[in-house]
């Protein structure tokens, strides 16, 4: 007769980021913001496009950070929400002639609903089981998008071409540059909202759930509601990123949103530092630029080089970029004392 196996809840799988260190200090934030604002003046259009991609993936990694680093739910399925957001925008722009900016909140809301609905059955799963479930979602999505049933809207296997917007009010900047600043504004808005969310009562509830679900529930936290909301919010933000991605790349197709994207976003979160929101952009830069660097080093072994570079990063900073930030912060603190 198999007995019940008792397990004292062990140390949480996701280590908490101390509240003080959750974001950059005001000074550092302003410097970073300044850098982001002036960079397009010095680089070519293609680099601006790459930077826009970094911002977009940064938003998606941020969403994953809220879900995993915030509420402790593991997700390998973000690519599915990204895809839904992308297709929502694409379909609204191309089939309904909607203004691209308006499609983003709609993509966000639809993905929020989608994420919330997924979060409901996911309540009963955790850890490796939740990983499998989200993995299933991610692998299903490209196939669902290819289904003949939806082909009229989705364009089937070939996908849809999306018109790139011009700068509004006849501003004298290239499409890429306009899109960059547009994305930057949205990214900043989402970042500030996310920081405020994690610092609020709701944020504390989320983190209580992450650290010890049973204790949180015993303290009156509505665990089910918060966990599904976390999925919803995370999916919604990822959907907005997807919409921006569709506009930036000018193209949506099922095979652009495979499990590889979900894995890349996961890696971005780890490299940036799980739960450390500012790290999202660093993780995103890693997943955008390092594969190219790897390919530059060796075309035939690009995967292996990427793997080696990834290993080097996680050996040096197992807790991600936030480790570097902490060290820098304490060094600066020591210098100030002297």
């Amino acid at each position: 007769m198999s007995a019940v196996q008792e397990a004292v809840t062990e140390a949480p799988a996701i280590d908490a980021v101390p509240k003080k260190a959750m974001t950059l200090s005001l000074g550092t934030s302003l410097i970073v913001l300044l850098l982001f604002l002036v960079v397009p003046l010095f680089v070519k259009n293609f680099i601006i496009f790459q930077l826009t991609t970094v911002l977009i993936y940064g938003i998606a990694v941020l969403a994953l950070n809220i879900l995993t680093g915030g509420s402790g739910q593991f997700s390998l399925g973000q690519s599915a929400f990204y895809a839904v957001g992308a297709y929502t925008s694409a379909i609204l722009i191309e089939h309904a002639g909607m203004n691209y900016a308006l499609t983003l909140p709609i993509a966000g809301i639809i993905c929020f609903g989608f994420g919330f609905l997924f979060g409901l059955p996911a309540l009963r799963l955790s850890g490796v089981y939740l990983a499998l479930a989200t993995f299933a979602l991610a692998t299903a999505m490209p196939q669902l998008l290819k289904l003949g049933f939806f082909e009229h809207w989705t364009g089937g296997v070939q996908g849809l071409v999306v018109t790139k917007p011009d700068a509004p009010f006849g501003l004298p900047m290239s499409q890429d540059t306009w899109l960059y600043y547009f994305t930057l504004a949205i990214a900043i808005g989402i970042y500030i909202a996310a920081v405020n969310l994690l610092r609020s009562r709701s944020g504390r509830a989320l983190m209580a759930i992450r650290d010890n679900e049973i204790a949180a529930s015993a303290m009156g936290v509505d665990v089910a509601l918060y966990k599904t909301l976390a999925f919803g919010v995370s999916a919604g933000i990822t959907g907005v990123a997807g919409g921006l991605g569709a506009i930036a790349v000018q193209f949506v197709a099922p095979d652009s949103y495979t499990i590889q994207l979900a894995i890349a976003l996961f890696l971005g979160m780890v490299v940036g530092g799980v739960g450390w929101l500012p790290g999202s952009i660093i993780g995103s830069a890693f997943i955008v630029f390092v594969p190219n660097i790897a390919e530059g080093i060796s075309k035939g072994l690009s995967g292996a080089v990427f793997g080696v570079l990834l290993f080097i990063v996680i050996f040096l900073v197992p807790h991600g970029a936030r480790q570097v930030a902490f060290v820098a912060q304490s060094l600066i603190g020591k210098l100030r004392k002297n």
Partner: protein
């Protein structure tokens, strides 16, 4: 009498927090010593430091040789058995498997089988339940199992961390009787960490009292038990 365990200037740290502030004491071979103190005084930390389960500095000598930076499992292999707080029972394994695990480092399989039978003699309730999952045993039974598991090592020194925790007084008395027997008959040196000072002082021959990481009192268990001031200031009764 030779000192089996010699601890000098032990300081232990949990991260940045210092829990032990220079502990020094010695255990004579064959003695039964108790380490008393309130919650958070550093009793568990002391045992953990001996087994290198927590970061520490200082010199610990076992049988005259320094333990150095040996890993926990290598310290155990020297003959130091440690029954941790919460008993550390392998809850998903059977009672008998738990006993086999206690002897897993021994090479004499016949001796192990004989010792398992001896444990069943010491603790008949374990024999009754020997194919049961250890997690289904009651608190008292699990404590017996933990002690038996430690004895399977044929240790020279046995460390016990709050064996009375969560147990009814009658069961604690039985347990302590058995510990006394083991100390006398099997010649096992024992160090018992306890919050239940009264029973521990009845059992032990030597006692140390620890408070916020420092030893504040040491001597014969009898003397400390009979010293009303000490009892009231440090032991609360």
């Amino acid at each position: 009498m030779t000192a089996m365990l010699n601890v000098k200037d032990l300081r232990a740290y949990y991260g940045q927090v210092q829990a032990l502030h220079g502990l020094s004491f010695a255990l004579n071979e064959g003695s039964l010593t108790t380490l008393l103190g309130a919650n958070g005084a550093g009793k568990t930390t002391t045992l953990r430091a001996i087994c290198n389960m927590v970061r520490s500095t200082g010199a610990i000598e076992f049988d005259g040789a320094p333990l150095g930076n040996r890993s926990t499992e290598n310290i155990v292999r020297l003959g130091i058995a440690h029954v941790p707080q919460g008993r550390g029972t392998f809850t998903t394994m059977t009672v008998e498997e738990n006993l086999q695990l206690g002897a897993i480092t021994r090479k004499d399989s016949k001796g192990v089988v004989a010792d398992i039978e001896r444990m069943y003699d010491h603790f008949p309730v374990l024999k009754q339940r020997h194919t049961q999952q250890a997690g289904t045993l009651s608190g008292g039974e699990q404590q017996m199992l933990a002690v038996a598991r430690a004895l399977m090592l044929r240790p020279r020194l046995m460390l016990l961390d709050e064996p009375s925790f969560g147990l009814a007084p009658l069961i604690v008395r039985d347990l302590f009787k058995i510990l006394g027997k083991i100390n006398r008959d099997d010649k096992v040196t024992i160090l018992v960490v306890e919050q239940n000072a009264q029973l521990a002082l009845e059992l032990a021959d030597t006692a140390y009292v620890i408070e916020t990481g420092r030893i504040v009192m040491s001597g014969k268990a009898n003397d400390i038990a009979n010293n009303e001031d000490v009892r009231k200031s440090y032991l609360g009764y």
